[in-house]
């Protein structure tokens, strides 16, 4: 007898519908599994056979053939165990009513005892099922919350194979109830807060400006000056994720099996801080079947690169394109996948190999050493960093201080207002932040009055700014004006923006001997 059930395969962070066909017929007894399968899918036959037996079903010795169609799509993962089991049982006639199967999908891994275990990528698969017009999905209990996040399709949690079959036979389905909308709101309460950061007023202000305009930022300072502390708190001043963003980011985490247990969607903006030994593939994503990398995991959040010059040149260079395009396409043997990569980059580095520069009384590095250190960072990448700040030496008063610092919530309110202004400004564009403005938009939105124009000209000539440097100042000045709620860019905003230009710029991208 032939039977067919629906399941799904992952490609990148998108799911696609897969039909699991099973046929039971006479012939030499055996279990044949076909359809362009990865080895973990091929192994499913042993798990399924044993699980079926331990779930209490007796199957007579017959020839069983299973095909996963379309047969030209590579299938990976363990989510096919459950649909294969259901297809086999149905082909054997153990499931009597098959009309339910026509608009249901199944995902889940089987244990040898017939228990149903969680799988990755539920969000993407569920989206695919809903878009294909299926009415319900049977999935592992532990993936229930994730499944519920997708609306427009019923979710039926399954604990064991043995209880699934009676459920299907009785046709008494109990879709899991959805929690009241809004009960899982994006989080604005964080375990960490800017209130805990004493001193470093410049770094905090610069971070606020950077977040407000989605500018990339570079912190320079000795070890222990609070660079990482400040960077790790960036998500706390970012406005909460919109529901569209949450779904997009959560899909990435779901595919990687990194969603927090029992949570449907990511509630906090991601903060990723890969170690500097990371490979280019781990950063961008890769693998025979492409999987998302750190930049995609940091999407809609922060990618923090500590010890920036210690990263391999090759690793850092791959960031250039995603920084521009806000997404990345990975092409590998089994196809090309596109992942989101819309992150804010924060980088941190020491000012020199010993860390004490510019305190010449303590720094023993030679100028050439300092320049070589600075030169490790590639110029094209630094051109994409709008804000560059140096950490102040921490005073004892600040270390021990109990002074009242501004909370993340207060900063976030200002950032939110600035984001709102930018959203309205760039409504018709395909981007929404000042940092993404190109020459044309800068001309349109960074209009200077006569006085300001003269000021900028003077700065350009006296300080030897580059054309790009000038544009960066304008973009940052626009953001500062947005933070101030000012329509026009004034001298103060220009002055502050100019202060964020990297002074060591001239050394960048020049590795010396």
């Amino acid at each position: 007898m032939f039977s067919k059930v629906f399941s799904g395969a992952l490609k990148g962070i998108d799911g696609s519908l897969i039909q699991v066909e099973a046929d039971v017929g006479s012939g030499l007894p055996g279990f044949q599994l076909v359809g362009y399968l990865a080895s973990e899918v091929k192994e499913a036959q042993d798990r399924v056979r044993t699980a079926i037996k331990n779930a209490g079903f007796r199957l007579s010795a017959m020839k069983v053939t299973i095909n996963l169609s379309p047969a030209n799509v590579r299938k990976e993962g363990t989510a096919f165990d459950l649909p294969i089991a259901v297809a086999v049982l149905s082909a054997y006639g153990q499931i009597e009513k098959t009309d339910l199967l026509r608009d249901s999908a199944f995902i889940g891994e089987l244990g040898l005892d017939g228990s149903v275990k969680p799988v990755t990528g539920t969000l993407s698969l569920m989206t695919a099922f809903r878009d294909a017009g299926l009415k319900r999905c049977f999935l592992p209990v532990l993936n229930l919350q994730e499944g519920l996040a997708i609306e427009g399709i019923d979710v039926i949690p399954v604990k064991r194979l043995s209880e699934l079959v009676p459920m299907l036979n009785s046709q008494q389905l109990q879709p899991a109830g959805r929690c009241k909308p809004g009960s899982e709101r994006p989080q604005t309460e964080y375990a960490i807060d800017y209130r805990e950061v004493n001193g470093q007023r410049l770094l905090k202000r610069a971070t606020e400006v950077a977040v407000a305009g989605h500018h990339n930022i570079l912190y320079i300072g000795p070890a222990g000056s609070g660079k990482s502390m400040i960077a790790s708190r960036i998500p706390t001043i970012m406005p909460p994720l919109s529901s569209k963003e949450r779904l997009e980011v959560s899909k990435v985490y779901s595919v990687c099996g990194m969603l927090p247990r029992g949570k449907a969607l990511l509630t906090e903006r991601p903060f990723r801080s890969p170690h500097h030994t990371i490979s280019p593939q781990a950063l961008t994503g890769g693998g025979k079947v492409p999987r998302p990398g750190e930049i995609s995991l940091a999407s809609r959040g922060v990618l923090f690169l500590d010890e920036f010059p210690e990263f391999q040149r090759r690793t850092i260079e791959v960031l250039r394109q995603p920084l521009e395009e806000r997404r990345i396409t990975i092409s590998r043997a089994y196809g090309a996948c596109e992942f989101p990569a819309d992150f804010m980059m924060a980088a941190a580095m020491n000012p020199c190999p010993c860390g004490f520069y510019p305190d010449r009384s303590r720094c023993t590095c030679q100028d050439s050493q300092i320049r070589r250190y600075m030169g490790k960072i590639s110029r094209p990448l630094l051109d994409r960093i709008d804000i560059c700040v140096e950490a102040a030496p921490v005073t004892f008063r600040e270390v021990r201080g109990e002074e009242e610092n501004e909370s993340s919530a207060a900063i976030r309110r200002r950032v939110e207002a600035a984001w709102k202004i930018q959203r309205e400004r760039f409504e018709a564009m395909d981007f929404c932040f000042n940092s993404e403005m190109s020459g044309k938009e800068i001309k349109q939105y960074c209009v200077l009055q006569k006085e300001e124009e003269a000021f900028l000209q003077e700065a350009y000539q006296k300080l030897g700014l580059s054309a790009r440097g000038c544009q960066r100042i304008l973009k940052v000045a626009r953001t500062i004006a947005d933070l101030d709620g000012a329509e026009r860019i004034g001298i103060e905003q220009l002055g502050e923006a100019a202060g964020y230009r990297g002074l060591e710029e001239k050394y960048w991208g020049r590795e010396e001997y």
Partner: protein
């Protein structure tokens, strides 16, 4: 005429031979009177002179076959804008002839210091403080304004600051390199290097293409002090190459001056030591000018900029600064302004030339005469 040229080319050849130092070449010259002879003479005669070691003899022998190559290179020097000046030439600086180990050949880009004009060597630490750099620059600028040629080593730190200061006054300044004159070391000084070729000159006793090596720098120091009438040390640690220059200057009978520093300052320890040993105390450029016997107008004392005419807040921020650069946070805390406001004001002060940003977000006052 032809003979003289021939003689000079032979000297050029001899300068290219490895293991031949300035003193050895000079002694050979005194012994044989002609470089052409030195080339043509038999090896035994050279040996008999007793001036050469076995290694040097072997080296000369090996290089005899490369004369043609050397001649070609010599002809090409002119097209590379490099002058080869030897003691045979009138253009050779008289100040150097007095040295025991005067260089037998100088490769020059630009020109050489004029004999009739006073010159001062300004030397100091490569990793100088922002304050030291400013002092060196201002001393050089004031001296150059009074028609004094500033000599230094085109290294980073004090050397560059001094050259730059002299160039600000638009007066020729001269750099003595520890590598070939077509090699810019450190490479970051390239624009300064170019400017000096046009206004003043760079010179070296090492042939073009020679890469910088640790041993070269102490040796070129004798040329720096030799070309100067006064040696001024601005900032130097207790054990520093600048002290070698000062010592060589003393041996050559030059006046040595040092800029005094705080007693706790490691970067000034060398200068203070010199003063303790009897060096002149360079409290202002005027002291140096007096020493050179140059008349100058009003007192030349270095001080901070005149800040009359600044707005109230700008004055406030300025008064929180120091010659030692401070981080923006410190400034903002000291004057009680927000980071945002402080940054704008500092930027304006920087544009107006009152202060300098020495490293990112570190600001220090400027010194002016």
């Amino acid at each position: 005429m032809q003979e003289q040229l021939q003689n000079k080319i032979m000297l050029y050849w001899l300068c290219q031979v490895p293991k031949m130092g300035a003193v050895t070449i000079r002694k050979l010259w005194e012994h044989f009177q002609s470089f052409t002879d030195i080339y043509n003479i038999e090896e035994t005669k050279l040996q008999e002179s007793g001036l050469l070691t076995a290694a040097q003899l072997a080296s000369i022998k090996a290089w005899k076959g490369r004369l043609g190559e050397c001649m070609e290179a010599y002809q090409k020097l002119a097209s590379r804008n490099i002058h080869f000046i030897t003691p045979l030439d009138e253009a050779y600086p008289d100040r150097l002839r007095e040295l025991y180990d005067y260089p037998m050949g100088l490769y020059v880009k630009g020109r050489l210091p004029a004999a009739e004009q006073p010159s001062v060597a300004i030397v100091g630490a490569r990793g100088c403080s922002a304050y030291g750099g400013q002092v060196a620059g201002e001393f050089a600028r004031v001296l150059a304004q009074e028609q004094v040629q500033v000599i230094s080593g085109l290294a980073s730190g004090i050397d560059s600051a001094a050259h730059n200061g002299a160039l600000r006054a638009g007066f020729p300044t001269f750099g003595v390199l520890g590598c070939g004159v077509n090699v810019c070391y450190p490479p970051s000084n390239y624009s300064l290097f170019e400017a000096m070729v046009n206004c003043g000159g760079v010179l070296s006793e090492y042939p073009p293409g020679e890469q910088p090596a640790p041993g070269h720098f102490p040796r070129r120091n004798r040329i720096i002090s030799g070309l100067a009438d006064v040696v001024l040390v601005v900032e130097a640690r207790e054990r520093s190459g600048s002290l070698i220059t000062a010592e060589l200057g003393l041996e050559q009978g030059k006046e040595v001056y040092a800029v005094p520093g705080r007693v706790t300052d490691a970067l000034s320890a060398g200068c203070n030591r010199l003063i303790e040993q009897g060096a002149g105390v360079a409290i202002s450029p005027g002291v140096i000018l007096d020493c050179l016997g140059l008349k100058h107008g009003k007192k030349l004392i270095l001080h901070e900029n005149n800040i009359n005419g600044l707005a109230k807040k700008e004055k406030m921020v300025y008064s929180c600064l120091d010659l030692n650069p401070k981080h923006l946070d410190e400034v903002a805390n000291a004057c009680g302004l927000s980071v945002k406001e402080c940054m704008g004001i500092l930027f304006r002060l920087e544009l107006a030339g009152h202060i300098t940003q020495t490293a990112s977000h570190y600001y220090g006052k400027n010194i002016r005469k």
